[in-house]
Every structure is written in structure tokens, then in C-alpha cells.
Amino acid sequence: MASSFLNIVNATLDWVTATLDAPSSRAIVFGVPIGGHLFVEVLLFLVIVFLLSQKSYKPPKRPLTEKEIDELCEEWVPESLIPPITEEMQYEPPVLESAAGPHAIINGKEVVNFAAANYLGLIGHEKLLESCTSALEKYGVGSCGPRGFYGTIDVHLDCEARIAKFLGTPDSIVYSYGLSTMFSAIPAFCKKGDIIVVDEGVHWGIQNGLYLSRSTIVYFKHNDMESLRNTLEKITLKNQRAKKLRRYIVVEAVYQNSGQIAPLDEIVKLKEKYRFRVVLDESNSFGVLGKAGRGLTEFCGVPVEKIDIITAAMGHALATEGGFCTGSARVTDHQRLSSSGYVFSASLPPYLASGAITAIDVLEENPDLITKLKKNIAVLWKGLSGILGLSLASNPESPIVFLRLEKSTGSVKSDLQLLEDISDRLLKEYSIFVVTSKRSTLDKCRLPVGIRLFVSAAHLESDLLKASESLKRVADSVLKDHI
């Protein structure tokens, strides 16, 4: 038994030695004797081939059967299209029975209107009405086509040229709606990967534009230049690639959400230091700030060429509708084929374009409109300072006078309710029409809410005094318990 086992072992050993001694295994490849490697490797190779030839374990694939899909579809219960209606959603705004001028009619009663951004008091202006009427007669109401397809009417081109001439820029481009100007212009110049530094208080039109551009968005503290500087510093230092990317600072001239004015001179200094481009929304400053009403650039003494893209809505000071964007020829030309709100939308009704031209003419002929507006703002400011429980949050030069609660109740909703009470009583008891800053649930702005008064050059001094007097009285009685 033992000898047979020894025999087998010996035979195997012999065979192995023979194999190892075989001429092939004694071969020398590139000066290295390979010994028994070949034998072992062939064995290993065979094992690998054997293993590979085996089927690997796969869990059986069982796609959903038609019946199961049917069941799933049957089971699925969608949410309702809208959340349940609550009381606050049932708000109905006051209905005007006249033009929205400084004195409007609501419920058959004449009220002083602080809700319209009719800064220069051009609503109802004789010349404006005349030019709109003749344009209506000549061109009809709508343009019936986008700009590319016979929707370009000669007044559009004239309007663009007029705005550019007024601001001293090479060219401008007119949009058919104020809100769409910003959210079309921004995505035309910013794409994925670009960097945008933006004030946290910008209005929804800009927020939407930023979102649609898919760029990297960095917010800085509302109107805080120190915060802007730090943000710019961080971005340029941290990101070596930043030099190759397009970089923008987006600010509003007069913030719709707070009435603050952006310090453009400082922004331009920072922009030049860190090499960013500036996108400026002049919706509430065009026709208002500066000696001739050319907006924030004139107000801060910054040459207009330094601002790369300027946008504005024409539904405020110019008392028509639509918006425009201006800048270098390159900037405007690029938008004519790349800006979705321009390419894919019907153009501005020609009578509104012609109204805008006339409004600029009127503004240029009557620079005293701006002085009058300034005076009115000062009067209202004086009247409104020192109201119990409310503080002025806006810039003293801004045409939007923004009052906010000195002491928040802790929630935006109840704050708004308090302010809403004040504005309701003002309208009912004193015939003063002011509005609160309502916010959409989509709006990401987190600045405190408040009461907004849009001052107009057409307000009489008595209107302003009456407004501040009554506001004081109403605030006293409404906020009495709150303070």
C-alpha cells in the first residue's frame, strides 16, 4: 500500500521534473531562464479559460408585465393641480374705474394713487395720448408677428434708436414686455459654467433669468459692498479657471424689493479690479435718477460704456409698456437671434413704441419733471419719518418709498397681514391707495416685506402731506397693540 503510494508520488515527481527539464522549459527568453514558469502559467491559463467559460450568476431579469404596469397606473393617485385654497389666496385687488394717474377712482371715490410707478406723471399726458392715438390709427393695435417675421415696424426701430441716443449707447433692443427683458437677456449671455455674482434682493424677473441660464450663482448681502468685495475676492482666488469663464455682477439700480439704490461707482471700481462685467437693471431708475433722467450711470457719474448690459422696463417712468436692453452693438446684435423672449414672442404693439418715443421727448423737453419728482420724494420722506412702529428702509433719493415694520412679528405672513390692514384702512378711511410688497411663492427674495409708495412728479404737495398724515394716524392705531 505504502510502496504503491510512494510509486505514484515518485512517478509524479519524475513527470514534473521531466516537464521542468524539458527543452522548452529550459528555454531562455531575452536572457532569462524561464524554468518551470511556462508549465505553471499554462495551467493557470487553463483554469482561467475554464472559469470564464462558466456562466456567471445573474439574477433573473423580470421586467414588469403589462398587467403589473396596468395595476401601477391604476394605483397611482396624483396630487391635485393646486393646493387647497386658503383665505389669503382670495385677495381681490381694488378695481380702478379711471386711468391709474395720481388721482384715480376706486368704488366711485377719488383716491390718491401711490400704487402706480408713474414716476414722471406721464399717465394721461396730452402728447403721449396723441402719439399713441395716431399710431393706433396707422398701425392697428397688435403687430401680429415676432420681430423676425414682419413684426418689426418702423416705430420699433425708431424707438430703439431714440433710447440709444438718449442714453448715449451705440444701440438698443426693445422687448415686448418688461418682465421678459431680464429673463431673456441674462440667459443670452450666460451659459452653464459661467459665474454670476448677484445681490440677494433682486426681483423675480432676474431670479428667473439666473435660473434659466444654469450658471453658477453666488449671492452677496443686499447692497453691501463689503460683502460683494469678499465674494469677488473668494471667487477669483479660489477658482483658477475663473479667468476663462464669463463673469458677471448683476444688480438693480433701484431695488424694487427695498427701494435701496446700488452704489454704482463702487461696483464699477470692484468690477474693474476683479474683471467682472456688470448687468444693471434700471427699471425703476430710468427717467428718474440723474440730472436728465438717464438713470443710475448719470446719478453716480459713471460713463455708460462701463456698464456692459443695461436693461429696463418701460412700464414705469415712460408710462408705456415693454422693456429694452442696451449696451455695445455686439451685445444688442447678439440678442436679436439668441434671446428667447425677443425671438419667440410677438413684438411690442406699435402704439406703445411710439408712446415710448414721445415719453422720452417729453422728458428731454421738461427736465423740471425730475426736479419736481425729487422735491416730492423729499416732502414725503419728511412727512413719513418718525412714524411709530414703521421705519423708512429706502434710499432718500429713490422714487420707491419703502416702509417696513420696525419690529417684525416673526413671520412674514403676519407681518404682511399687519401692513395689509394699514393699507386697507388707508384706502377705506382716507382714500389713500398704497400697496404692500406681496411676494410670489416662487420668489426667493428674503428681504423684509413692507409698504411701497411710488412717488410721482404729478402728486400735489397736499396729496403727499395728506398721505403722510393719514399713514401716521392709521399706523398708530393698527400698530398700537403690536409695539
Binding site: L136, V141, S345, L348
Partner: protein
């Protein structure tokens, strides 16, 4: 589906290839010159990236004169096109004081309300005098006048929904309302050829977007089944809600939506239907109430009805119509209602008056005549074009009819030749259509007379022969011999 003839596809590819190659060559030289005189802003990345505006610089600019032609009159059946010239190879175009009176086959003036109208215009002017051109305020603040209230009631009544909300621009209506209705965790299933405003609105909403093959209900059903059974990507949670978005008439195809089938499928799978009637409201249906009326769909089955006033009504703005609750919610939170200037009062009056004319509430039958006329005109024009051998897209009754051109060189050729013979047509190329499928688009209006249409057909036929776009053999018929006789 459009099937391109093999040879045409090849030559189209070749043309674009050639344009691209020459463009690159010119860019190369431009770069050398720029490098030579490098005075550009240092340290800034270029504001328009090279490839982004390559198309504009090297392709679009060559034929820029075919687009954006300024006019100096109302966009009625005939209008004045301002002539332009260029001194720098079409890079910039300058206006001259010369005009040419052309037949208008380009504007969306379906019912002929673009020009001054005996009923609408005096009323619009009256409103202008009473309410001024603007309210300078948003709807929710101080921008709601009695006119706006009346308009919303009028629109709701016209489209057949309990309530409606009006905004000042059609584009904004789509792009600001979709984000309110749906957000993260929701699914938007959109037709592959939906308008850019819907695409932007869907993107802005943060919801997942899936696309179904253009106007194919069976594919919609497939996508719906797949999506409902799989749920949200990665988490596989069930979708919160699904909105299916379709258009009534597709503006670049002229096709009518297969609404009855789509509504049935959406009902079966509990998806909400969002119908954009930008081109169909006022233009089709017996009383102008859009595709629902034309195709016999109950408006109660369409959850959200959207449309614009820029086309048939000759005004501006857009509307959303739906149940009382939906509109109430939208008015509470829609940014277009909260932040945007309200519809210009004269424009609002124009819409009200136009609707009154369409419904015959002005005391005449002009509205009914207009509707009959546009239907007749469209069907006549379409059948004539088809007989001549053009490749015409779209369905009967639709006033939009694209004629396929394909080759890039045929775009300016067709447009310029037609203009020379005083017929203004719209040609559509890349950003609005796929690269290969360039086309000319004709929009018929109720204000076109029979003579206008015969004249247009004669010119288009002649130009079509010249440019070589009669892709099908002509069909000899009585009608055509008439046309030849006229020649």
C-alpha cells in the same frame, strides 16, 4: 413625419458642410487679424463665445435681409415693406425711405383684426383716452381696471371655462405659469415640437421633463405608462403630478393637435392636460373657439387652457383659463400677475371688441363671415399648393401652411424672389426648425381676397419652379389650368 428625399438630404448636408467650412476658414483669418491688432478687453472672457455666435456670423448674416424686414403700415392683407440696403455684405442693414407694397403672407393676422377695424379701433382709442396706454402697476397692486375685469370675464366665457386670468405677454404666460403649477417631484410630458416659451417654462419649473414624439398619442401613452410605473428617477417615488402639454396648432408645422386621443389617454392615466392655443384660438372652430370646438373636445376635460391675443385678435397678451380655484391660486402667486405691468388698456379693449365681433355681439355677422372666410381661404390655398407639387405640411382647416425648402440656399432665393414680385413670405431656418428642415411658412388671413390668393399662388408657383422646390409631380386639374390662364 417629414421624409426628406435622399438626394435632397445629401445636398442639404453638403451645403451646410460647405458653409461651415468657409465659415471656419474666415474665422481663422479673422483670428489672425484680431491677434495682429489685439486691443480687446484684457482679462475678460469674450462676451459671445466663438461657437455660440458662429451661426449668426457666418450663416445667418449672409441671408439676414430675409428676416426682420421692417414694415411701415399695419400688418393687413397688403402692407408696406421698407427696403433696406447693406454696404458691408449684409452685416448691417440700413433702412431706406423707399417702400414696396406687398401681399402679406407672413403675419399671424388670421381674422384680419390687425388693421384698423370699424368696430374695434374707435373703442380702443376711447379706452386709450380714458385709461392711458399703461397702468404702470402690476395687476395685484394698482393695475386692475374695470377693463381688465371685463376682459377676464369675456375670455372665460369665450373659451368655455369658469374663470380666466390675463397677462400682458403670451410668452410670459407660459413661462411664468408652469413653475407655479408644478415643481420638483412633478413630471411634465411635452410634445417634441412645443414652443420655446413652454420649454423655458418647463425648465424654469424644476420639474422633470420628458418628451413624446410630435403629435403621436400612442407614444404619449407609452411614455406615461413607463413613467408612472417607474416613478421618479433614482428615488423611484411616485410622481406628484403629471402635466401633459400640447399645442392646438403647431406654428411651424401647421398641424392640428390630435386632442381627442390625447385627452382620452390623459384621462385614463390621470394626467393633467395643458393646452396652448396660441395659434388656434379665434382662428379655427365654428365660432372661433379653437381646437376644442373644431375637434369636439369638451373644455371641461382640458385642465388648463392657455392662449394668446397676438394672433387672431390683433392685440397683445395671453390668457390662462381654468377652474375658479386654479385661477384664484394663480392670481395669488403667479409672478406675471404679481410683478408685471398689467395689459395695456387699449389692447385689452381691442381683445374685448374682437371677441364681441367674433361672437356677433356687435350686431353684425362680420365675425361669422371672417371665420368662414379664413377656413375657405386656407383650404383653397392649401389644396392649390399641393396640386402644384409643393411639399406642404399641416392639416386641413389650419391657416398655417409650411412649404418645405430644405437646402439653405433656397431660403434666401425663395424669400427674395417672392419679395421682388411683391409677395412677402416668411422663411424659417435653424433656430426655429431642425437644421435640415428649412421651410417657408404661409399664414392665411380672412382679410385676403380671392384675387390676392390667386396672385400669391401664381407668384409662388413661378418662384417654386425657379428655385426648384416642387418636390412632388404636379397634379393636372381644372383649378390649375385656371391659374395658368390667369398667367
Amino acid at each position: 413625419m417629414i421624409t426628406i428625399p435622399y438626394l435632397t438630404a445629401l445636398s442639404t448636408y453638403f451645403s451646410y458642410g460647405l458653409l461651415f467650412a468657409f465659415g471656419q476658414l474666415r474665422d481663422f483669418f479673422r483670428k489672425i487679424i484680431d491677434w495682429w491688432q489685439s486691443g480687446d478687453l484684457q482679462g475678460y472672457a469674450p462676451i459671445c463665445l466663438g461657437l455660440e455666435d458662429f451661426y449668426i456670423r457666418r450663416l445667418y448674416n449672409r441671408i439676414q435681409d430675409c428676416f426682420g424686414r421692417p414694415i411701415s403700415s399695419a400688418p393687413d392683407a397688403w402692407f408696406d415693406v421698407v427696403e433696406r440696403y447693406s454696404n458691408d455684405n449684409n452685416k448691417t442693414l440700413k433702412r431706406t425711405s423707399k417702400i414696396s407694397r406687398c401681399l402679406n403672407l407672413g403675419s399671424y393676422n388670421y381674422l384680419g383684426f390687425a388693421a384698423s377695424d370699424e368696430y374695434c379701433t374707435p373703442r380702443a382709442i376711447e379706452s386709450l383716452k380714458k385709461f392711458s396706454p399703461s397702468t404702470c402697476s402690476s395687476r395685484v397692486d394698482g393695475g386692475t381696471t374695470t377693463l381688465h375685469k371685463e376682459l377676464e370675464e369675456c375670455v372665460a366665457n369665450f373659451v368655455g371655462k369658469p374663470d380666466a386670468m390675463v397677462t400682458g405677454m403670451g410668452y410670459v404666460t407660459n413661462s411664468a405659469i408652469l413653475p407655479v403649477l408644478i415643481g420638483k417631484g412633478g413630471l411634465i410630458i411635452s410634445d417634441s415640437l412645443n414652443h420655446n416659451s413652454i420649454v423655458n417654462g418647463a425648465r424654469g419649473s424644476g420639474a422633470t421633463v420628458r418628451v413624446f414624439q410630435h403629435n403621436t398619442p400612442s407614444h404619449l401613452e407609452k411614455v406615461l405608462r413607463e413613467q408612472i410605473s417607474e416613478g421618479q428617477p433614482r428615488t423611484h417615488r411616485p410622481w406628484k403630478k403629471i402635466i401633459v402639454i400640447v399645442e392646438g396648432i403647431y406654428s411651424m408645422e401647421g398641424e392640428l393637435c390630435q386632442l381627442p386621443e390625447i385627452v382620452a389617454i390623459c384621462k385614463k392615466y390621470k394626467a393633467y392636460v395643458y393646452l396652448d392655443e396660441a395659434h388656434s384660438i379665434g382662428a379655427v372652430g365654428k365660432t372661433g373657439r379653437g381646437v376644442c370646438e373644431l375637434l369636439g373636445v369638451d373644455t371641461a376635460d382640458v385642465d388648463i387652457m392657455m392662449g394668446t391675443f397676438t394672433k387672431s385678435f390683433g392685440s397683445c397678451g395671453g390668457y390662462i383659463a381654468g377652474s375658479k380655484e386654479v385661477i384664484q391660486y394663480l392670481k395669488y402667486t403667479c409672478p406675471a400677475h404679481l410683478y408685471a405691468t398689467s395689459v395695456s388698456p387699449p389692447a385689452a379693449q381691442q381683445i374685448i371688441s374682437a371677441i364681441k365681433v367674433i361672437l356677433g355681439e356687435d350686431g353684425t355677422s362680420r365675425g361669422a363671415q371672417k371665420l368662414a372666410r379664413i377656413r375657405e381661404n386656407s383650404n383653397f390655398f392649401r389644396s392649390e399648393l399641393q396640386k402644384m407639387g409643393f411639399e406642404v405640411l399641416g392639416d386641413n382647416d389650419s391657416p398655417v401652411m409650411p412649404i418645405m425648402l430644405y437646402n439653405p440656399a433656397k431660403i434666401p432665393a425663395f424669400s427674395r424672389e417672392c419679395l421682388k414680385q411683391n409677395v412677402a413670405v416668411v422663411t424659417v431656418a435653424f433656430p426655429a426648425t431642425p437644421l435640415l428642415l428649412a421651410r417657408a411658412r404661409i399664414c392665411i388671413s380672412a382679410s385676403h381676397t380671392k384675387e390676392d390668393l390667386l396672385r400669391a399662388l401664381e407668384v409662388i408657383s413661378r418662384v417654386g419652379d425657379l428655385v426648384g422646390i416642387k418636390y412632388f409631380p404636379a397634379e393636372p386639374s381644372k383649378q390649375e389650368t385656371n391659374v395658368i390662364k390667369l398667367e
